[in-house]
């Protein structure tokens, strides 16, 4: 983050949620809606983190199991009561299955830090920034990096 970027951008609103027991967030501008989980129809030959597809008001919505995608353990009982965050990424719409949605946070751009380079931990590549708020560490999910893999895997 350069000085100019810091001075021109003000703050950013983020939707925070827990997945695999960790705190994550996404830019609220990409969130379309939040819905309770329904049974997804499994897709054959799909990568393990693709839960399947659900019917979102007549549209076919692919559901990604974010915990699996990020290499995190499932929170106990998460299967029974998970939440789906519907996000727009580019011209595609997908549902991210998470454990729970927590809050809407306003973070100053200055508070966002790039993730430190720490080897090849699972899911590290999907975090675009970190910030601390109320003594909790939130990761900002890099939606673009979560998604394109779908197209590749499915091709």
């Amino acid at each position: 983050m350069t000085d100019t970027a810091r001075s021109t951008k003000g703050s950013i609103e983020l939707l925070s949620f827990t997945v695999g027991g960790e705190d994550y967030s996404v830019d609220i501008m990409s969130v379309r809606e939040i819905r309770s989980g329904t049974t997804a129809t499994a897709l054959p030959h799909a990568p393990d983190y693709v839960r399947g597809v659900i019917n979102l008001r007549g549209n076919v919505l692919p559901i990604l199991d974010l915990a699996v995608r990020l290499g995190l353990p499932h929170a106990p009982g998460a299967d029974a009561r998970h939440v789906i965050i519907v996000v727009d990424v580019g011209n595609r719409t997908v549902g991210l299955m998470v454990d729970a949605v927590s809050d809407i946070l306003t973070a100053a751009q200055d508070d966002l830090q790039p993730p430190p380079d720490v080897g090849t931990g699972g899911g590290q590549g999907h975090v675009s920034a970190l910030f601390v708020m109320n003594d909790r560490l939130y990761r900002v999910l890099d939606l673009g990096s979560v998604l394109p893999a779908i197209a590749l895997d499915a091709a």
Partner: protein
């Protein structure tokens, strides 16, 4: 402006279609005067529109084409095969130009120039016979500045040549997007012109209305063209301007007694107003000057009010336009383009939205029916009958909506006419295309996506099917080959056939080629139909020499896969010496599908009903093992391989036994039969197809998705794809330990 442009191109497509129709009528020798007129009008309208959008290449070509058609119309040229051929290629070039202009691509200039030359030859060749009166020296062309009186002198000596056109646009002309610039240019295209700006309507600056149309032009056109030709330049602005067309001599005479009062007298006035060469300015005369524009400014009224004090030519213009409107049943020229069929143009997105909504309705209706059942209300007569009515209505609405998307296949067939013309001239064969069932209606998307495979098949037919003229004569056929393109509805599907009366498939050659390419074993025993079907194998091409036309490596396999992608099938029949027939069977629409809803491994899936031959329960007698990893099903006399749908889709491992499960007998495109094992058949119903590609991507073995009555998504299988992949997979990793 963009919208107007878009609608111009839509209109162009319609006009091009009308043009093709007209030419086909001419070709068939069934023409009358009206046919030529229709053709002429189509070209002319394209030219007019193109002029408004400054598409100069298009205007230039359309104009030349129009000139030829005009000579045809006036009887200078006559309908003969050469002219019809030329007209067809002109129509093709015109279509190219329209599309190039629309897409912003480079038009095929070389071809345009060639066609232009041919047109010039055609026009010039006939022209010589009738130059007699047209060609003499420009007499009386010397009125350089004003018509005043000197024009009259010129008019005495010889019949005057050319026209003097006084053109006063009304404000409505500008408002409707027309531009005098193009009109004047179009006039200039008719012959040498001298244009004079008439500024006599201009008031003094203090009373100037910027929005008013105050500038007029007088054009001296020194060419011996008919008044009608001149008038046509103004066809699109008829009623939007004051137009006077006179012979040079008349103009002089007319001007003198003051029938066109504004012109000579007030001329110097305006000059002075604008500070140009000084002249005495009676300001008072500027006031009445705008009058001539006023009636015109009030719109089409000008042409509809012949009582207006007008010079003779103008009165005749009014009559003419009145005649024109009268015979079209409308009251104004402007309505002419709209009526005819009683159709409206709707943005395709709106229709697609409607189609989607109706899809929702169908799903909703199924959900409601399910809820009613769950609530235990099924016995209730009112609920029951209400629900049935709802279902019926839903189905009716759905069918009607699908009909909106349906279009006659004609436009596609017309494009094929061009393919035949081009392809046959390229390989030096004589081929005639006969089309039938052009009115057959097919889903718009199907039509669009059928263009490529059909083009390929037609080219193949010309290149490989039809023999050369001498060859045909030698085998006792007519010199000209025939390709028949037919479309019809048959049992809920569309059947399209491409047949030629050529040599038929050369089976020994096909066989030899297939062996040479290693596509089949040298000692394979194949039936005639098996051999014919070899054409569909990837990478198969029989052309001895790779021609420009076909044989470029993409072959019938691409044709087949694109037709399959549309949910269609293609079959081939051939008789040596008599010809080859390809028949394509397509679903009526891509939006709904009749499917069988099945359960396997806890998942609900939909199998297109069209591929299922029969269903049966699996018994221990019917099943037999084959090797350690697979098993087969005995069906009457034959044996078919058995695939477990759950295994193929990675839903489960092979079962211990398949006894008691259900097998769907499926016929594949290549004629093979296979059995697909599922757990249970749930239902048979119409499902709304939802694409997966845009949201997720392609999934092997899956064609699309649909939404069931309970709101859940079910996948629709692509059995052909599934089995073609399964052939590799089952042997490798599936271990069907079976009872059998």
């Amino acid at each position: 402006m963009m919208e107007m442009r878009a609608s111009f191109f839509v209109e162009c497509e319609e006009l091009l279609e009308a043009l093709q129709d007209g030419l086909a009528t001419l070709e068939a020798g069934e023409e009358d005067n009206e046919t030529v007129n229709v053709v002429f009008r189509a070209v002319h309208s394209i030219k007019g529109g193109a002029g408004a959008f400054a598409l100069h290449d298009l205007v230039r070509f359309a104009h030349r084409f129009e000139t030829m058609l005009d000579e045809l119309r006036s009887g200078v040229l006559s309908v003969e095969p050469g002219l019809v051929r030329l007209s067809f290629s002109c129509a093709d070039v015109l279509a190219d130009l329209v599309r190039a202009a629309r897409d912003g691509t480079e038009p095929p200039f070389e071809r345009i120039d060639q066609t232009m030359e041919a047109l010039d030859e055609m026009i010039a060749g006939e022209g010589e016979e009738e130059v007699t009166s047209a060609d003499f020296q420009p007499v009386g062309l010397s009125f350089d500045f004003d018509l005043g009186g000197d024009a009259g002198g010129a008019g005495d000596s010889a019949p005057p040549v050319g026209h003097v056109i006084t053109f006063r646009p009304a404000a409505a002309l500008y408002a409707s997007g027309n531009e005098p610039r193009f009109i004047l240019k179009a006039l200039a295209a008719l012959g040498p012109v001298r244009v004079k700006v008439l500024t006599d309507d201009l008031p003094t600056l203090d009373s100037l209305e910027p929005e008013a149309s105050l500038i007029a032009w007088r054009v001296h056109l020194d060419a011996d063209v008919s008044e009608a030709a001149v008038r046509e330049v103004f066809e699109f602005v008829e009623g939007l301007c004051d137009l006077v067309i006179e012979r040079p001599g008349d103009a002089g005479d007319a001007a003198a007694p003051g029938t066109t009062p504004a012109l000579p007298g007030t001329h110097p006035v305006t000059k002075a107003t604008w500070g140009l060469p000084p002249a005495p300015v009676p300001t008072a005369s500027a006031a009445p000057a705008p009058q001539p524009t006023r009636p015109a400014a009030s719109g089409p009224a000008a042409s509809g009010r012949p009582a207006e004090p007008a010079p003779p030519a103008r009165a005749s213009a009014a009559e003419k336009s009145a005649d024109k409107s009268a015979d079209k049943g409308g009251d104004k020229g402007a309505s002419a383009a709209v009526e005819a069929k009683g159709t409206i143009r709707v943005d395709i997105d709106r229709i697609d939205r409607l189609v989607n909504l109706v899809g929702e309705l169908v799903i909703n209706q199924a959900m409601l029916a399910e809820s009613v059942q769950d609530a235990g209300l099924t016995g209730h007569p009112n609920v029951e009958s209400g629900l049935n009515e709802f279902m019926q209505l839903t189905r009716d609405i759905q069918e009607s909506v699908m009909l909106i998307r349906a279009q006659p296949i004609k436009s596609l067939f017309q494009r094929m006419g061009r393919i035949v013309r081009e392809a046959s001239s390229m390989v030096g064969k004589e081929v005639h295309l006969r089309t039938e069932g052009e009115a057959t209606e097919v889903d718009k998307t199907v039509i669009e996506r059928l263009a490529d495979p059909l083009t390929h098949m037609i080219r193949n037919a010309v290149d490989h099917g039809i023999e050369r003229p001498d060859g045909r004569i030698a085998s006792g056929k007519s010199r000209t080959g025939e390709i028949r393109l037919t479309a019809m509805h048959r049992s809920g599907r569309v059947l399209i056939e491409v047949s030629d009366d050529g040599a038929g498939i050369n089976r020994p050659k096909v066989l030899a080629k297939a062996i040479e390419r290693g596509l089949i074993d040298a000692d394979a025993q194949l039936t005639d139909s098996d051999i014919d079907n070899l054409l569909f194998l990837p990478g198969f091409s029989t052309a001895d020499t790779v021609s420009d036309l076909s044989g470029r490596g993409v072959g019938m396999d691409v044709v087949r896969s694109s037709i399959q992608a549309l949910g269609g099938r293609v079959t081939i029949q051939s008789e040596p010496g008599k010809g080859t027939n390809f028949s394509i069977s397509l679903p009526l629409t891509l939006a709904v599908l009749d499917g069988m809803v099945v359960r396997v491994a806890g998942q609900t899936l939909v199998v297109p009903l069209s591929v299922i031959e029969e269903t049966m329960s699996l018994t221990s007698e019917g099943l037999a093992s084959l090797g350690s990893e697979s098993q087969v099903l005995r069906v009457r006399q034959g044996v078919v391989p058995l695939y477990d749908l759950g295994v193929e889709l990675n839903y489960r491992d092979p079962l211990d036994t398949y006894v008691g499960r259900i097998a769907l007998l499926v016929t594949l495109e290549d004629g093979r039969s296979v059995a697909i094992a599922v757990d249970k058949i749930e239902d048979q119903r119409q499902v709304v197809i939802k694409g997966l590609h845009s949201s997720y991507g392609r999934i092997p073995g899956i064609a699309a998705a649909t939404i069931l009555g309970n709101g859940q998504i079910a996948l629709i299988l692509d059995i052909g794809d599934l089995v073609s992949r399964a052939r590799g997979v089952t042997r490798l990793r599936d271990t069907l330990s079976l009872a059998g």
